[in-house]
Amino acid sequence: MNGKVKESGLGLDVEEFKRKKQKNAYMMTMLSVVGILSFLLLWQISVSMEWVNQKFLASPMQVLNLFLVKLTDASPDGNTLGMNVLASLQVSLTGFTLAVCIGVPLGLLMGWYRGFDSLIRPIFEVVRPIPPVSWIPLIIVWLGIGLQAKAFIVFFSAFVPCVINSYTGIRQTVPVLINVAKTCGASNFTIFWKIGIPSSMTMVFTGIKVALGNAWSTLVAAEMLAASAGLGYMILMGRQFARPDIIILGITVIGAIGMLFSSLLNIAESKVLGWKKV
């Protein structure tokens, strides 16, 4: 009898705890939504009430309106929003993908093979501290202002973290795991493949995330300096035409796409590193 009471008491506690936790999560989401809405509202009001000069700031409604217009209208920068997004995506994905495809294997090989490390490292150490945007003038001379030129700049900004993190990641492989494979008679390459690479994945993903952030921000800088289309270019035109709404639209779209990429990357990461979270 006593036990039963106790048991149901415990059951209630668990239920209640679960409900509380759920309620808490709901509250937190609501708070975030409230936060965003009040920010937008305050922004809208401060523009409508002309607390700030309309020359400097467009209201959220204006930006939304422009968004719809820019879907089909190419003025004033000469491209519709879709064309600008496409141009930016083309550049950033080319540069970023190349950076991952070259940087990650390079870092892994440098981290694993001493000879390779000695061969590449001196060059890499010189190149590494150069800010990617400082390549721009030279790149323009070499490659003009086309896709290749900008992709190259993006590539550089994304390449460095890919190399460094892959290198560090594979260097941190736990020695006993290497010895497990070694005592099974595995060759150095097999150990690299079966032990080193899986061990490095956490750091590799961190590197790829940093690379993505870099790629996206460098892209905008590159387009602002030399381009005829793209989101960075659109922002620059917004400045030239004194159109804050265009600038803000550009910024917002850049933010949204960046967020989209981050979440795609998170999905890929949880596929590869899912074992950590179970």
């Binding site: 795991l177 070694k182 005592t183 099974c184 060759s187 079966k194 061990s199 074992w275 950590k276 179970v278």
Partner: protein, 250 residues
């Protein structure tokens, strides 16, 4: 070396190891017969792990050499398995895949891998953990994976470095019997390092007692008792006390 037909599985000849200035093993020579079960006891830091690492070529000797089946030791040639002292399951693989790992490296046919892994899962009671990852398991269960991984290799030379140190008594007794069973079934040679004198006397046909480093062999004690052994047998107790007394002045 032309000794392929000798009775020795492992021959250790004038083995000396320095790590820089640190003299760890000092001119050690001994042999281990085919099919023998040898326990090695010695103080912490005397070089027991170093010895196994030399045998598997994780390190190389400063002087002298080690031979397996009459050939200079080489894990690529010999079918050996190593249970390391520290946790060594692969964290990104499930229990089942951990068990398959060594066999896949050795390119054992898939049907044979399936058969052996199922057997090991059954033997070590890992069924419920089959699809779990090592970090989800207790230390002793994780260690069971490592032991299972070594057993699954059907090694003819099994090296175990304080494998049961982390385990509760019940599981330890069970796995002690299990390693004896495996040893008898496969006819493999076992080198088993332990801190636990009772464990050494329970398992070994011969116990090697090492001195402090630089280590030499202080004494060899032959345990001439049939398995399974009774820990309360007077002869057992006498041997245990004798070995304990031999290591007292460490």
């Amino acid at each position: 070396m032309n000794k392929k037909n000798s009775d020795y599985k492992v021959e250790v000849k004038n083995l000396t190891k320095y790590f820089g200035d640190l003299h760890v093993l000092d001119d050690i020579s001994f042999n281990i017969k085919k099919g023998e079960f040898v326990c090695v006891v010695g103080p912490t830091g005397c070089g027991k792990t170093t010895f196994l690492n030399l045998l598997t070529r994780i390190y190389y000797p400063t002087e002298g050499d080690l031979y397996i089946d009459g050939e200079s030791a080489d894990p690529k040639k010999h079918n050996l398995a190593f249970v390391f002292q520290e946790p060594s399951s692969l964290p990104w693989l499930t229990v089942e895949k951990n068990l398959r790992f060594g066999l896949e490296l050795k390119k054992v046919p898939k049907s044979e891998i399936d058969r052996r892994v199922e057997e090991i899962i059954r033997l070590l009671g890992l069924e419920q953990f089959r699809n779990s990852y090592p970090h989800q398991l207790s230390v002793s269960t994780a260690q069971r994976i490592i032991i299972g991984r070594a057993f699954a290799m059907n090694p003819d030379l099994l090296l175990m470095d304080e494998p049961y140190g982390q385990m509760d008594v019940k599981l330890r007794f069970y796995l002690e019997d299990e390693v004896i069973r495996l040893w008898k079934e496969l006819g493999s040679t076992v080198v088993f390092i332990t801190h636990n004198i009772e464990e050494a006397v329970y398992l070994a046909e011969r116990v090697l007692i090492l001195t402090n480093k630089p280590a030499t062999i202080k004494e060899e004690v032959v345990i001439d008792m049939p398995h399974p052994r009774d820990v309360s047998d007077p002869k057992f107790i006498e041997l245990r006390k004798y070995i304990t007394s031999q290591i007292k002045w460490w």
